[in-house]
């Protein structure tokens, strides 16, 4: 079966104040502002080819509005439209959005709004197309500057059902599971054509909850640099720098000024998961080490704190 989804394209996240949000997301995190339109701002990382990867929307709460996955080919959107019909999932066709063409929008069993799209403007990254240097010379020297968006971890009241939905309808494949004592997956790390540890992960929790969204950081050294910048700017760090057993990624969990958790994720992680390889399994006994490898237990905020 071919991969039909390429990767997580963008997330839309609610913020309580757009001015303060832009200060944090551009000056501390180092994203580039594409455009501010009304109560929304579109941003991208420096190595993103697509028009944008993060949308900030001013609201009176924090949390996720939607997560959008980009298909490999334009026809794949039609394929998923047939698939949604087949599984009787109600969906809307959104003919166009900012710099983007058609998208299918639907609610998942976990209550999240997902989109599947292909057409989007592709202005390219912040490097020339011809003979580029490895990174742009005008990166802000005291910002984190992650090169790309990586994944999102969301919460589901019935994670087993949500995992099944993502696997059957959206054709995600699992790299890793946490299974309960009955052998049922209660958490999953799911990948698409990028074949990296995860584009989407699911843990038990409240309906429509966003545990975090993540940016890729290439090396563990850069993750420590990111931690320095967080401290310099009084950013609340939730966990890390540390390592996950699951995905093997190094990371830091931290909060934006409104309580949305973000992760800088990467380092010694980027295993390629070959289609057909058996998923890795963690149990309720070992999941502490799976989530937080060095601590070997869940920190309390992992399952209780999210937006």
């Amino acid at each position: 079966m071919p991969f039909r989804i390429s990767r997580l394209g963008y997330v839309e996240v609610k913020v309580l104040d757009l001015d303060d949000a832009l200060d944090f997301y551009t000056n501390v995190l180092g994203l580039r502002l594409v455009e501010r339109l009304g109560n929304k701002a579109y941003l991208k990382t420096w190595d993103d080819q697509l028009a944008y990867s993060v949308i900030l929307t001013e609201s009176d709460t924090a949390g996720m509005v939607r997560a959008a996955f980009r298909t490999v080919d334009p026809e794949d959107v039609d394929y998923f439209e047939r698939k949604l019909k087949q599984y009787e999932v109600p969906y809307e066709v959104i003919p166009e959005d900012y710099k983007r063409g058609k998208a299918l929008r639907f609610k998942t069993p976990s209550g999240h709004t997902f989109e599947i799209f292909n057409e989007i403007e592709i202005p390219g990254n912040y490097l020339p197309k011809e003979s580029p240097d490895p990174w742009p010379r005008d990166l802000k020297s005291d910002a984190i500057n992650p090169p790309k968006i990586d994944h999102t971890l969301i919460t589901a009241p019935d994670p087993t059902k949500m995992i099944k939905f993502c696997e059957e309808v959206l054709e995600f494949r699992a790299t890793e599971y946490i299974v309960n004592n009955e052998g049922q997956p209660i958490a999953a790390w799911l990948y698409q054509a990028r074949q990296q540890p995860h584009d989407l992960a699911i843990v038990p929790g409240r309906e429509a909850g966003m545990h975090h969204f993540a940016f890729h950081i290439s090396s563990a050294q850069d993750i420590f640099r990111a931690a320095d910048i967080m401290v310099m700017n009084d950013v609340k760090i939730d966990w890390g720098p540390g390592r996950h057993g699951i995905t093997r990624g190094s990371g830091i969990y931290f909060f934006d000024p409104f309580g949305n958790r973000i992760e800088t994720f990467g380092g010694y992680t980027a295993y390629l998961y070959d289609p057909g390889a058996k998923p890795i399994v963690w149990t309720e006994e070992t999941m502490g080490k799976g989530i937080f490898y060095y601590e070997r237990k869940l920190v309390e905020t992992f399952l209780t704190v999210y937006t």
């Binding site: 309580l16 104040d17 924090a62 905020t301 937006t307």
Partner: protein, 117 residues
């Protein structure tokens, strides 16, 4: 002469009080005093630090889902954002005792700079 404005916050059922500087959040002042109020994102977004409060506070910038207008009126606040405007009485929502860390003199010297980042 110390003219700094401070407020007294009384914690029940522990029956202890601590001092909060004007403009300081309840959570910051509590943690500095070794009072381990539960907290999460510390940015008003997750609601984990919700407590009962008697007395006037500035609720600060908080998520309306995690602290509704009705909750504000009926004596709740998010300790990570709420700033006292007068002396207060606070308690956990379930009324249970709050863990208090007592450092000896040496450790209190080490920990007195602790801030809720």
């Amino acid at each position: 002469m110390n003219n700094e404005v401070t407020f007294k916050i009384h914690l029940i059922p522990n029956g202890i009080s601590f001092i909060c500087k004007a403009g300081e959040t309840i959570l910051d002042a509590a943690l500095k005093a070794g009072i381990e109020l539960p907290h999460g994102c510390t940015k008003g977004g997750c609601g984990v630090c919700k407590i009962k409060v008697k007395g006037k506070v500035d609720f600060g910038r908080v998520s309306k889902v995690m602290l509704t207008d009705q909750e504000k009126e009926s004596g709740f606040c998010l300790s990570c954002r709420a700033v006292p405007l007068e002396d207060l009485e606070i308690s956990l929502i379930d009324g249970s005792m709050v863990k208090v860390i007592r450092y000896d003199d040496f450790y209190s010297f080490l920990f007195k700079t602790r801030a809720n980042l």
